[in-house]
Symmetry: C2
Subunit: 213 residues, 2 copies
Amino acid sequence: MSTAESARAPRRIAERPDDAASRELVLAAAGQLFYARGFTAVGMDELRTQSGIPLKRLYRLFPSKEAIVEEVLFAWQRMWTAGVTAQVESTLVPRERLLAVYDFLAGWFTSEGFRGCAFINSFGEVGGASGNITDIVRQHKKHFQTYLAQLADEAGAPASLAPQLAILAEGAITTAAIAASAEPARHARAAAEILIDVALQGSAGGNCHPSHA
Amino acid sequence: MSTAESARAPRRIAERPDDAASRELVLAAAGQLFYARGFTAVGMDELRTQSGIPLKRLYRLFPSKEAIVEEVLFAWQRMWTAGVTAQVESTLVPRERLLAVYDFLAGWFTSEGFRGCAFINSFGEVGGASGNITDIVRQHKKHFQTYLAQLADEAGAPASLAPQLAILAEGAITTAAIAASAEPARHARAAAEILIDVALQGSAGGNCHPSHA
DNA sequence: TTGCCTAGATAACGATCGTTCTCTATTCTA
DNA sequence: TAGAATAGAGAACGATCGTTATCTAGGCAA
């Protein structure tokens, strides 16, 4: 990969070719186990068994368990963002793009093994014990709020709408997780419709009760 | 040790007079420690130190650590209910009684050591590992929703309002905890005002935009 | 006062955690 | 083919957990 040593690649220790694949195996197994049972409840031995990666190699790929936790959080962040944006991109109508967030939630809530927001669960588990994890969780939520603010702005809504929609989404997730029900997604969507319509008519001067009722 | 020994109650072991006070000491210390750092992060030794109750006595008052956890959850439930109802009872106007929930949240968010909803944190920590704890958390949330439904009904709102208000409260709590900010209480309250007014005007036939704007 | 029973302080126990070390077999270069 | 270095499997290590047992001192009935 650099000069002449890649002609035959004699013995490069630092990066073996399948290290990346092994890391993915570990992160995939860790993601499932951590989401299902939490960080502390899953030991390194179980992570070794589930991923098929020997313990020694595991500690060569990651410096510690906490490092795995952090990378799993980043992977979750990517998955969440991809899922939400995919749903949002399915339409070009600004109002529906905002509501698409709750459609994504509805699908998520009914998916196998749904157990609430992994970031909220992580925050609750580590509390303030790990500053790194808390920071990642905080950053994830801020990122989501920024995304919502952008969607709301594109819809022509005032800046006060986005935090309200974010709170609705957040509340729907935890309520659905604890109640083990998908209904909160519909409730949150219905509430979001009202908030969006009021916000839009307030700033655009539409008629009363634009769509529903 | 069976028949005539209870004639004068010579040595009653089961219940000493100060057992109740000791239990309160333990539950108070456990409540603070558990809320601040989670269940698993707080050991029995720390609980002994903080409460001043010797370990042996601690295990005579409670059969296990999990039993303490459960009783702490019940104590939290009582504290939460007392705080919310006190704020609600401060007014008799149905609409303001609904909004009082978010006023309570605003005060809570700015209180020292606020770290989110203890029930949500507990749910995230134990996941589904402890069915007892999960059940208590579920029951607490259901109790809150029922209370909100009663307040909404007294305000003359349709049944669809209460779940929306509950989701707003839930989302405000977690958002405030993660962002370490009290603003979500104001955002949730503003959203609740809109939802309430729309719900009331929809069912009572008032004019457009009743109070604000 | 004497003897018994219990309280409290603390050590010990078994289990489990994250992490490291040992030992053997294999692989790959020269 | 000879040799060196690494990979893998698993034991071992130190720490900590929840829980229990031990030991000593003190309170109370007779």
